[in-house]
């Protein structure tokens, strides 16, 4: 292998790493319990995988055909800027349209600010502070 083939191999290795990360984030989008945790898997690691893949393609074209592609660089910059913005906006819309939190959620501090008048939206496991203290007191009595 000469020097050029080694550099091409490294570029293709970046692409393979990006695809493995994409499968990991897809596994996360199936396994996580609610929208708010799924968005972590779907936006962060997916953005990293597409950045790795596009930079691998950029280096491949640069090395093998000595073609400096400005379009791939623009694509990398655009995805890097817009993917977190899109994830933030869709999760903001989900919370404001009252999508249920998962059952293992311990605390929801934004609820007091946004949905104070709407008592039905309180999930059964997100207890108020007084209720939690009552339960603790009862447990102490039982002991």
């Amino acid at each position: 292998m000469n020097e050029r083939e080694i550099l091409e191999f490294i570029a293709v290795l970046l692409i393979l790493l990006g695809s493995i990360l994409s499968v990991i984030s897809a596994y996360g989008i199936v396994r996580f319990p609610d929208v708010y945790t799924r968005s972590h898997a779907a936006t962060k690691s997916s953005t990293l995988s597409v950045l790795l893949t596009l930079s691998g393609a950029f280096f491949y074209f640069w090395i093998s055909e000595s073609f400096f592609s400005v379009r791939i660089l623009l694509g990398i910059l655009f995805v890097f800027i817009t993917a977190p913005v899109a994830g933030h906006l869709i999760i903001r819309a989900a919370y404001r349209s009252k999508v249920k939190l998962s059952e293992i959620t311990i605390e929801d501090e934004l609820h007091e600010v946004l949905h104070e008048e709407d008592k039905e939206f309180i999930h059964k496991d997100v207890l108020e502070k007084e209720d939690r203290e009552k339960i603790l007191r009862n447990e102490d009595k039982q002991k």
Binding site: E8, F9, V12, L13, I15, L16, G18, S19, I20, S22, V23, S25, A26, Y27, I29, V30, V35, R38, S39, A42, T43, S46, T47, S49, V50, T53, L54, G56, A57, Y60, F61, S64, E65, F67, S69, R71, I72, L74, G75, F78, V79, T82, A83, V85, A86, G87, L89, I90, I91, R92, A93, A94, R96, S97, V99, K100
Partner: protein, 94 residues
């Protein structure tokens, strides 16, 4: 060696798109489906990049930019629809 690695990575992207399609079909709420749709768009961008490396052509590089823009715009439109019920707001005549 390089050919095998490229084929493997495009197959892995296909697996990721199939899993996200599962979330689109069975997702309990609308934001779930929109998140999975956004992820499919992002994975399609990288799949196109891999195809243009495999075929050694520069003709597909414009498609990357256009697909990235379309994915972003569609996610923004869906989030506005979920939050307010309308996509294009008109001014009320006062």
């Amino acid at each position: 060696m390089i050919e095998i690695m490229l084929m493997t990575s495009i197959a892995l992207f296909g697996v990721a798109i199939a899993i996200a399609l599962f979330r689109i079909v069975f997702g309990p709420s609308l934001p779930d489906r929109v998140i999975a749709l956004d992820m499919i768009g992002v994975n399609l961008v990288s799949g196109i990049a891999i195809i243009s490396v495999m075929l050694r052509t520069k003709a597909f590089l414009e498609v990357i930019l256009i697909l990235a823009v379309l994915t972003f715009i569609s996610t923004i439109a869906f989030s506005k629809y979920i939050e307010r019920g309308v996509i294009i707001e008109r001014k009320r005549d006062s």
